[in-house]
Amino acid sequence: MAEDQYSGGEQPTTGNQEVTRREFLRQMGAGAAAVTFFSLGVAGQARGPAFPPMAEATGVVFPDPSLCIGCLTCEVVCSRAHEEVGLSGVPRIRIYDDPSIKLHPEIIRNYPDRGAFFQEPCLQCPEAPCLPVCPVDALRVEPKTQARIIDESTCIACGRCERACPFTAVDENRATNREVLGQASRITFDPKKNVYVKCDLCYFREGGPACVERCPVNIRIRQGIVKSDILCLDLPASTSEVFQKLRQQQAAS
């Protein structure tokens, strides 16, 4: 079941594409070469144990707060997309009220009284600190999208990944829908399913991440109705430059 769950698209799941804790330890045991590799600082923002090398995610949800109208479509379609395939319905992206955000002129013109918002996605860290801390290998690199995912059928809800995530969640009282999920980082506990939940780039979905596809502002930008060179929720390749940019943006919240 667990294997089926994320074998998703056309590509068959091949065990050696995933980096599991066990493999990681095996690699560590491989000798001095590996030690040198890690000590060179490849594991950029190391915290705790050294990180195994892992492929960059094919994409990362990259918001532009200046274009967000706080419609919460992303949050709800995220829940829906995951519930439809039997996964936890806890939203993997969250929207917060943030009056300090500078809005795009198009948004100010169309929604003068609506407020300003900040989006908190998962950053699909190049060297994701949430992965190696999982004691049961529930956190894996999904083979198709290279998304860092939590296999819900394996997760034992120990919460180590949540604590390992370096990106905090802002005060939930500022969440635009005021729903308090008890978030501390970009990995969230779902008490209903007793699992931790994070963004998996909707690897099971043909159209990619539901939030990016269904964002009404994105749709109107693509249709040319809202004039903007940038998208409200973009999905660039998760390169280290993109990660640095997104990290800066997210650290500013």
């Binding site: 706080g70 419609c71 709800v76 169309n110 009284d113 269904r214 749709i219």
Partner: protein, 331 residues
Amino acid sequence: MRPVKYLAAPTWRDAINALAKYPTAKAIAGGSDLLGWIKDDITGAKEPQWDILVDIRTIKEGAAIRFSRNEGLRIGSLATLTDLESAKEVQENYPLLASAVGHPASPGIRNVGTIGGNINQRPRCWYLRGAEFDCYKKGGDFCFAVTGKNEYHAILEGELCYIVHPSDVAPALLALDAKAKILGPKGEKTVPFSEYFVGPRVDVIRENILQHDEVLTEIQIPPPVPSSKSSFLKVTNRGVYDFAIVNIATWLKLNNGSVEDSRIVLSGVAPTPHRSTAAEGVIKGKRIDEALAKQAADQALVRARPMSDNAYKVEIAKTLIRRSLLEAAGA
């Protein structure tokens, strides 16, 4: 209008059996909402063509209105709005409800429209009601109101879908702490109206917890509370015969002139009737005057997120809260 099959249900049980048997069957009472819906051909992946109408007006006792000092009011969901407006026990004991049921539509429609139908009516969003817009509520994947024309849409609690709850009666029922009796294949259950309505996050396809084969059979309102006061106000575009831009039902329990308890509920502002606990918090334990009413109104709308065309509703909602508190308190 396309042809439909008609079935008459002699009992509630027959009605739910028919609904359970036919996925495209819909219960009909006054029909003032449903017939328009069918005529407008509103269909989608999650909104079937209703082609079997199960008439529930044929259910005996379905429209009974009973009152007792101990148990309060029991209203059969088939009671018409006119029945309720003119019922002495309603006028004498529940002026808030008597006022609310006198507001929807026109006298002609209130003569056939039932309280159950008013509670369960579908939203008036012009995109939902337009056959050409495949919106979330019909099983589509877009809310046209977010980036379209939205002057009558939600200013509070909108997410994914930005409908507003259209009922005048629902806020009064929440303000009166009423309960819904629901009958389904598994039997009967009673649910407070505070848990009856659901927003788009919970289920974008429907506005309440009723499943396809469940029916609302009775509305139960607790006995009137001595020293309680109330007010119902509604703002519409037209003088009569219109849905609320905003309406408000306010219920206060006063103790020596100070507010001991309150329920302030608005419709027309959010996908479900919106109870403003924020406003209630401001007035608790205090004597209502102009300044306090204004403060409560401002507090109630702090979290408003108006859309491109409906910021005016924020001001209307604030004004109605202020007026409603002053009217109810007699200040």
